[in-house]
């Protein structure tokens, strides 16, 4: 392209002036006028923009040497990462929320990410316009604008050094995560090194292992509730049809005496009351549209079948002999031709955020679906989440308290040690079966308390819970089903 190298240099000079004056110099003005103080991450982003402008001065002064161009690309790439990392703290917040004040409708950390991206773009344009003469045609002497840019930069860098001294202190002090308002009064200056605290981690609170119910202590005597009364297994049944994958959830529909079984390989089976005949089955395609992790829970919503993944994504299905097999091909890897996918979605939670689930229940009296979160080393909570069936949005959420008749085995014990793998809601109660310590928790949904707990010795890797009249059915991964008599006086119409 026939553009003189002097013009390219002049354009670059004005870019350097703009970068120096607006984000790097303007930030000092914001401090003086509005008391705006950057956090440690803002400081790094501002420093990076200053360094990019400085490399621009190197190019203006010495020519477009490869090491200068490489340095700018490295700085801009790092700056885009910094912008993403920093903005990720706030991007998912609600409308208008953020850190510190917005600037022309965007918060400063977002601007910094955008500016670094524009720098990358500018470097591409600069490379496009450079002549392939190893800089021989580059002007040897800086022009008036170039000298102005250098002088301006020194002044702006010195102003930033002063602000940094006031707000972050001399070495070894450094920037803070939550700094105080800028002041010229030294009595208001706060210096510290609290950013050095905390353990190293790649993903922080997102470091959550996928739940593995096979790796839990099944002994009820080791649980947080000492010596709960025993609920004996009164019989065994078995799913009599071959399943694709291991059983991972079970539900029973009292209206039609049908069972809904799901597997960890996305199999969904509608079984008759004998558990020995498959009425319908599909294998859901987990990679199409919404990402479905292995299925972990099942529930009947009338004639709608709800299946839940460990990552709280769900699929709603319905048996339908008129289903269009060609249309459903995109949803199912395998189908008997009589099942429809109604909807895929994701449950959004608040207290149970960043936690997996292994259970799903449906409370017909409240018309709500219920999940119980699986505690992890990062998030030690037992959270019951309820979702309105109408819009499948969160309607309430709570951490159950301990009932008046229960006590923990020590100050260091917690209900969050239970790992609920199956749940049933009936008559205002949530029966939640924990694979850890083989314990059945009875949670009062109205009072939000654990009313009772029962040890169920003899279970081997339970994965689900269903209700059948006065009985509870604890499903195991191997397809066997332990029959339990429901604790307390149960009747089909009255609450316990």
């Amino acid at each position: 392209m026939a553009v003189s190298q002097r013009r390219v240099r002049d354009a670059l000079t004005w870019l350097v002036i703009a970068l120096t004056a607006v984000p790097v110099g303007g930030a000092v003005v914001l401090a003086l006028v509005h008391g705006d103080t950057p956090c440690i991450l803002c400081w790094a982003q501002r420093t990076s923009m200053a360094l990019i402008a400085l490399v621009g001065l190197f190019i203006v002064r010495y020519g477009p040497r490869p090491r200068y161009l490489g340095t700018v690309v490295l700085l801009a790439t790092w700056g885009v990462f910094m912008g993403l990392r920093h903005s990720s703290l706030h991007l998912a917040r609600d409308i208008g929320q953020g850190f510190s004040a917005p600037f022309f409708g965007m918060h400063t950390y977002t601007w910094a990410g955008l500016i670094h991206w524009v720098v990358l773009l500018s470097i591409g344009v600069l490379l496009f316009l450079l002549r392939e003469d190893r800089g021989e045609s580059w002007p040897k002497e800086p022009g008036r604008a170039s000298r102005f840019a250098m002088g301006l930069f020194v002044v702006v860098a010195a102003a930033n050094a002063f602000q940094a001294l006031a707000t972050t202190g001399p070495p070894p002090f450094m920037g803070q995560a939550d700094p105080v308002r800028f002041s010229l009064d030294p009595r208001r200056w706060v210096w510290g090194n609290e950013e050095l605290a905390g353990r190293l981690s790649l993903r922080g609170s997102w470091t959550v292992p996928e739940p593995d119910a096979a790796d839990l202590d099944p002994d009820p005597a080791h649980g947080p509730l000492p010596a709960p009364p025993e609920l004996p297994i009164t019989g065994w049944e078995r799913i009599g049809v071959p399943l694709y994958g291991a059983l991972s959830g079970l539900a029973h529909d009292p209206e039609t005496d049908r069972y809904l079984a799901v597997t960890d390989r996305y199999g969904v089976y509608l079984l008759d009351g004998t558990l020995a005949r498959t009425l319908h089955h599909v294998t859901v395609d987990p990679g199409f549209s919404i990402d479905l992790s292995p299925f972990a829970g099942a529930a009947f919503l009338g004639d709608t079948l709800a299946v839940l993944s460990t990552n709280k994504s769900y699929a709603l299905l319905r048996a339908d002999s008129t289903a269009d097999e060609a249309l459903e091909w995109r949803h199912f890897r395998e189908t008997d031709g009589a099942m429809r996918e109604l909807r895929l979605g994701r449950f959004a939670t608040v207290r149970a955020r960043q936690m997996y689930v292994l259970s799903l229940a449906f409370d017909p009296s409240a018309d709500e679906l219920i999940t119980v979160a699986v505690p992890s080393p990062r998030h030690r909570r037992l959270v019951v989440s309820r979702f309105a069936r109408g819009d499948l949005m969160l309607s309430s959420e709570f951490e159950p308290r301990l009932g008046a008749d229960l006590t923990l085995g020590g100050d260091d014990r917690s209900l969050a040690e239970y790992v609920v793998v199956g749940a049933v809601a009936e008559d205002g109660l949530l029966y939640a079966l924990s694979a850890a310590y083989s314990t059945l928790l009875v949670i009062d949904l109205g009072e939000r308390t654990v009313r009772a707990a029962y040890a169920v010795p003899g279970l081997e890797q339970p994965v689900g819970l269903a209700a059948r009249g006065p009985q509870l059915l604890a499903a195991q991964a191997d397809g066997r089903i332990a029959v339990l008599e429901r604790p307390g006086a149960w009747s089909p119409t009255a609450k316990e």
Binding site: C39, I40, L41, W43, A44, Q45, T47, S48, A50, L51, L54, V55, L57, F58, R61, Y62, R67, T71, L74, L75, W78, M82, L84, R85, S87, S88, L89, L91, A92, R147, M150, G151, F153, V154, A157, A158, N160, A161, A164, L165, T168, G169, P170, P171, P172, F173, M174, G175, A177, E195, L196, G198, R199, L200, S201, L202, R203, G204, S205, W206
Partner: protein
């Protein structure tokens, strides 16, 4: 530490502006500033190096 870094940056710019013959020293200071900037960002994010979002 941010104060130190901006002092280094101002010094580097001054060399480029007023002592252009000391290009090597200026570039060395620039690299030191870049590394210090990256280090300070990593200190500020050491409890979660990657963005706190679904990956």
């Amino acid at each position: 530490m941010e104060f130190l870094n901006f002092v280094l940056i101002a010094w580097t710019a001054w060399l480029v502006w007023r002592r252009p013959d000391r290009e090597g020293r200026a570039f060395g200071l620039l690299i030191v500033s870049c590394l210090l900037m990256a280090l300070l960002f990593l200190v500020g994010t050491h409890t979660s190096f990657v963005p706190g979002i679904n990956l």
